[in-house]
């Protein structure tokens, strides 16, 4: 396992970490979703990443793109709701950038994430400030790219991305939702943190923490 490059083993370790973090935060995410949605986000994400890690554990990989692709397919066919196709698309589009690569440095990872984010925006049509996962992902991936340009280490780059994701996530609190179920609440959606922005933050946290060890 190499902490400066994302290789197959590191990627699998990250997925294990995502699964653990999502599982640990299942009730928290569901609670956030019950305030402004339909109380299933944590349940859905947990189901998805449990299936994804199962699939990944049972396979042999020679490039990291294939891992991302299997994750994408698992999420797509098990999460459902809005988050399923969105995260499925994120990992699918990222996997296309990573296809054939035995490892990724910060620059490649930033490119893959940008592709993923573009997929999410194309599918969900959310604008920044609409109170969705996009509000955590955009600043995080912007930071990742900047760090890559500045020649940061993978770990430092993810640390900066994570900090921006956290800020983006918290900044969703006062927003009035314009997309997804929370939008039905109109003004009443303000004052609550967006569940999808929170799960995006947690996924990035897992990337960072898995590399830390």
């Amino acid at each position: 396992m190499d902490n400066e490059k994302l290789d197959v083993n590191t990627t699998i370790a990250i997925l294990e970490r995502i699964k653990d973090i999502i599982e640990a935060n299942k009730d928290y995410l569901t609670e956030l979703d019950s305030a402004i949605g339909d109380a299933d986000h944590g349940i859905n994400m947990n189901r998805g990443f449990s299936k994804a890690i199962e699939k990944v554990r049972n396979n042999q990989y020679f490039d990291i793109g294939s891992i991302f692709k299997d994750v994408a397919m698992s999420l797509m066919s098990t999460v459902g709701g809005a988050a399923g196709p969105l995260y499925g698309t994120f990992f699918m589009r990222a996997s296309m950038k990573l296809a054939g690569h035995k490892e990724a440095d910060l620059t490649l990872l930033a490119q893959a994430f940008r592709e993923g984010l573009n997929g999410v925006i194309a599918l969900g049509k959310a604008q920044p400030g609409d109170k969705t996962m996009v509000d955590a992902l955009i600043p995080a991936i912007d930071a990742l790219e900047t760090a890559a340009k500045e020649g940061s280490s993978l770990k430092d780059g993810l640390a900066k991305a994570l900090a921006m994701a956290e800020k983006g996530m918290k900044d969703t609190i006062p927003l009035v939702a314009k997309k997804g179920r929370a939008s039905y609440l109109g003004e009443r959606s303000a004052g609550h943190q967006d569940p999808g922005a929170t799960s995006s933050y947690l996924i990035l946290k897992a990337f960072y923490e898995a590399l830390e060890n």
Binding site: S34, D38, S77
Partner: protein, 332 residues
């Protein structure tokens, strides 16, 4: 949480298994993905497929059968189904005349159905989609998720199913579905919230004298919370919003649909219908058809929704046409 279940992870699977066993003459389950199929499909007609989160029973699985749906794809409770479900279901019920997806307007449903449609199109299967968005409680705008699909979906599935059954082309069937959607409006309210089994606690809290107006069907909170009122005033609030929206006018003939959210006694729904009938009578709107009962629910939520569909002769004929499903049956 008090529920008649065995395992929160298995509520959808076991419930579908019970449905299929109880109505083996009408429906069967897909062997690999989660989908309810007509026992006798495929036949040479346009196949009508719907689906969405579970927890709204009898919708959609209970509407599979002669004269209504060819397949229903249930997701987890309140969670959109995944594209593989619609994809595999469509492959079984496709009769070569094309497929109509009836989709309720929720971000997740839209995206998952769209993905399935793309997958099917890639194999040369012709899929059209109509999105139902009849909930006047939600402000509509180009820049939001738009109105939800609620009670109007049940009426669309019945009428569109009849159109497909009588041999309508995909284009005709789709147009009828759009026609129903254009003429139907709904609004709901809740006296109590509901509990998603896997979540274990109510989706929101309501005080002992409070009700929530403009509720959806996913246990999501509504737009206004207020002190509980007599049925007559609740009917007036919901129906005024509905009537003004289309707008429905004096002389219009409508199908009046009073729907229970799952935990409301039928006797109360008839009280609501009684008040609705009075209200519409005063406005000169004529009830030509009616439906009263639990048809699109939110688990054990107490409350109701009102749906009005402006009828024309063709819709009346299609509504009256025979239907034989676990949840809706007449004429056969």
């Amino acid at each position: 949480m008090k529920k008649l279940i065995n395992d929160v992870e298995k509520v959808v699977a076991e419930s579908l298994s019970g449905l299929a066993k109880a109505h083996a003459d009408m429906v069967k389950l897909h062997p690999s993905v989660r989908a309810v199929l007509r026992a006798d499909s495929p036949r040479e007609k346009v196949a009508v497929i719907s689906g969405g989160g579970s927890g709204h029973e009898p919708m959609h699985g209970g509407y599979v059968g002669f004269g209504m749906l060819d397949a229903a794809c249930p997701g987890e409770v309140f969670t959109s189904p995944t594209p593989d479900q619609m994809y595999e279901a469509a492959k079984v019920v496709d009769g070569g005349k094309g497929i109509l997806f009836i989709v309720k307007n929720y971000t997740g449903d839209i995206m998952n159905f769209q993905m399935a449609a793309d997958m099917l199109a890639a194999e040369g299967i012709h899929v059209e989609q109509v999105v139902i968005n009849d909930d006047v409680a939600v402000e509509d705008s180009l820049y939001t998720a738009g109105r939800r699909g609620v009670g109007g979906t049940v009426l669309a599935e019945k009428i569109v199913g009849a159109k497909a059954e009588e041999g309508g082309t995909l284009e005709e069937v789709k147009r009828m579905c759009e026609h129903v959607n254009a003429n139907v409006r709904s609004m709901g309210m809740a006296l109590s919230p509901c509990t998603v089994p896997a979540a274990g606690k109510p989706t929101f809290e309501l005080g002992p004298d409070e009700m929530e107006i403009g509720i959806g069907i996913h246990g999501e909170p509504g737009r206004h919370r207020m002190k509980i009122k007599p049925a007559r005033e609740i009917v007036e609030m919901l129906t005024s919003a509905i009537v003004e929206d289309l707008p429905f006018k004096a002389g219009d003939e409508v199908l009046a649909f009073v729907n229970g959210m799952g935990g409301t006694p039928l006797s109360e729904l008839y009280i609501v219908y009684n008040d609705l009938s009075d209200f519409l009578g005063k406005k000169g709107i004529k009830i030509a058809r009616s439906l009263v009962g639990d048809y699109i629910t939110s688990l054990e939520m107490q409350g109701c929704s009102i749906t009005l569909l402006r009828l024309d002769d063709e819709m009346k004929r299609l509504w009256d046409a025979p239907v034989c499903t676990p949840g809706l049956r007449w004429g056969m």
